[in-house]
Symmetry: C2
Subunit: 454 residues, 2 copies
């Protein structure tokens, strides 16, 4: 069981004019902790409610006993309850100014120092950072930037190279497409055809009405612009399915059946002779697997594609500032409508939305891009089914910057509770991750005892 | 010869609200550069005019030929001509808000990326950071935080541990005292006695007048408070002399003779029977060695203790925010009036001066304190005569985080032009530094060719 606590944080770690503080939430579970000196597994919270991440990170709970570890789950500023300016935190670009990864890492560093200074017998506890997705990027970066604070990091499904100039912009959607291609007959081809079918059907008022009814949309489509958003919503739906294509029934972004893409694809096994309406009926059935598996949705809401525990607006701001991740599609190697990556267009959209412009090269400069070999003790785990593996580290860099690939895994499957349906690859990954943790802890104890002896 | 240039920099690297830029000055000398791929020696500018540092860093010019290196001297924001808000940069705490070491390091990283993107055949050039004093701290921290940008760093006389809780606060003034103790008969004892003598003499109006005349002060002492400032000025004078106790005539903080403390001490060789006035006459002669070696000063200005090329106000602000360096004296192990370190008093003074308060633990958290063994390729050189060696790394940490001690050296003597009067210890230090540079460059070339081969 985890106990919620609060830590006092500077709103601005990198300037002294703004000297106000805010309360950062974190959760602590110490029932497995062997004191003194037992390790601390520190979850570097990402863009959402920390309680939700805590519940979806069973791996930490499962290894805590084996390591005699304390668990700490730290909430990322501007998400969940950790709002620097309370309800005003998102009111304008002035209040959003302190939502950056650098500030979040500094929060984590200060929090760990505070914990070590206040929890009796924790002073010598080695700390390991653990995170998934953006939180995995934070874990890796935390070890890179604050190696005095954490002895190592598990960066699960962390696309640290999904930045300009580091990987091809089309890889992400290619992986999404491959997941569908291998999950059912003509599944990717049907989706590829669906965009033109939507264009055809939505060209008339009656077609828009038919689409709205067929997809049980809460807000009916009224014009061409709505049809455009509708396609964007469907595209995001397929991406989300690729992220959570888990081998068992689960509820992460949405409640879903086992291997959900296979279930989705049952509705999309069409030949090329299928009519637009038949095809789109199949697509609507497929979409409902994702949005209405439990049968409890009266209608589909196109403004929400995933759990509300994720802070979509905050992430949008981060993507509009530091987290510039180029994506593109060509409709040939992927099943989407062709769209180039255009930084200027993107920047203009960000400016219209938030009054800020992204800096394309900053993340690469501050976090080292592909030149990271001088760091140590980081595990990069990636799932073969996960589109985010496109920007992940999928090969060993050095003997202590290692990659673990889980061919049958979707988005950070390794961080989830183990189940009987887990593929052997994820079991092996978790075992190996535990082994690295033990190795780092031993290293740290050795260094410490050397420092203490005269 | 170095050519001045300008680079466009974000005023705020860590937030996106302030999207203005400023012009950072840097100096480039490429007459020794072997292209393509020859290394770049990058001077991480400290608290002053970069042209002055450039002229006082002969070591870089001397090794450039041997390494086929390009030299770049980057000016630190808020100093010299690199003023983010022009003449308003120091107007208030709002404008001073971007004067931090983290912003300065980000400037350096962005500048190097820009150089590599714009100078033909510099793309593959390995970069080594070099700096002295605060600039040496920046060099070390630059390698720690941006190892993708610089392959190694020479941190000369860099007191990276002069922060709360890392070293005893009295060590700094102990070293100053030792320098005087060994430079002449009773030299430290006379200075230790001088404070009481000043107290005695300054207790009357005629005494204040006598002191003002004896020391040829531009602004005569008028009251007890002035006498207090006067003692502070003298204390700073002895500290500065310890920093620049070079084995040859030089002009760094002030124009000075060879081994200036020995010259100073000739005026202070008193027995304990000396009268207050005799003693203070000696002290005034000693002070004039520092302030009027050239004989060109009509009077002594107690508001200026060193060259105006140093940005004293900017450094004061930095000391009042991140650079919290505890110092204390006991009058027994050192030759100064006893004074404890009191953070609260210090913080209140800072608040009165700048409207900001220092954060005592931040530098230790962000730069790792004494836990830096996971980093690599940093040389910490320290002079045995230099009071700043109190906060320096004076023992090897690992085989690639190495210490070089120069027993006969004052403040970063190794960075200066070589002379016939250099002690063997500094010659050896420079040779060893060059050897490490060559080793790092070889390492980098090997890594790069490995990355390029299929």
């Amino acid at each position: 069981e985890s106990i919620p606590k609060e830590s006092i944080c500077w709103i601005d770690h990198f300037g002294f004019l703004e000297d106000a503080t805010f309360k950062q939430r974190y959760l602590v579970a110490d029932e497995y902790w062997q004191q003194p000196g037992g390790p601390i597994l520190f979850y570097t919270g990402n863009e959402g409610d920390i309680a939700w991440f805590c519940n979806n990170t069973g791996f930490m709970w499962e290894v805590a006993g084996q390591l005699g570890a304390m668990l700490v789950f730290a909430e990322h500023r501007y998400y969940g309850e950790s709002l620097p300016f309370g309800q005003d935190s998102y009111s304008d670009s002035k209040h959003l100014n302190y939502l950056t990864s650098e500030q979040a890492l500094a929060d984590f560093a200060v929090l760990i120092q505070n914990l070590k200074n206040t929890i009796p017998k924790a002073q010598d506890s080695p700390v390991i950072a653990i995170g998934g997705s953006y939180g995995g990027m934070l874990s890796a970066w935390f070890r890179m930037k604050y190696p005095s604070v954490v002895i190592g990091a598990l960066a699960a499904s962390a696309p640290i190279w999904q930045f300009p100039g580091m990987v091809p912009c089309g890889d992400f959607y290619k992986i999404v497409t491959q997941d569908f291609a291998k999950s059912g007959y003509n599944c990717d081809a049907s989706i590829r055809r669906s965009w033109e079918a939507i264009n055809n059907v939505s060209s008339t008022a009656s077609g828009l009405q038919w689409l709205s009814e067929e997809f049980s949309l809460c807000n009916p489509l009224k014009n061409k612009n709505d049809a455009l958003s509708f396609k964007g919503w469907l595209q995001e739906t397929w991406v989300n399915l690729a992220m959570v294509d888990y081998p068992y029934e689960a509820s992460f972004l949405q409640p879903l059946p086992r291997w959900p893409i296979q279930v989705v694809c049952k509705h999309l096994a069409f030949d090329s002779s299928v009519s637009d309406h038949q095809l789109l009926h199949g697509v609507s059935q497929a979409a409902k697997v994702y949005y209405n598996y439990t049968g409890s949705s009266a209608c589909l809401n196109t403004s929400q594609t995933a759990t509300s525990s994720l802070g979509a607006l905050g992430w949008l701001y981060q993507a509009c500032t530091e987290m510039v991740m180029p994506m593109c599609t060509d409709g040939v190697q992927d099943m989407f409508e062709p769209e180039d990556w255009n930084f200027q267009t993107y920047s203009d959209e960000c400016n219209a939305m938030f009054g800020v412009r992204p800096r394309a090269d900053w993340a690469g400069t501050v976090y080292g891009g592909k030149t990271i070999a001088s760091h140590s003790n980081i595990i990069f785990s990636n799932g073969g089914l996960d589109p985010w593996s496109s920007g992940g580290v999928t090969g060993n860099i050095t003997h202590s910057l290692v990659s673990i690939v889980i061919p049958d895994g979707a988005h950070h499957l390794d961080l989830r509770y183990s189940t009987d349906l887990d593929p052997p690859s994820v079991r092996a990954a978790r075992a190996l991750e535990l082994k690295y943790f033990q190795k780092w802890i031993k290293q740290a104890q050795k260094t410490r005892s050397k420092e203490k002896s005269p």
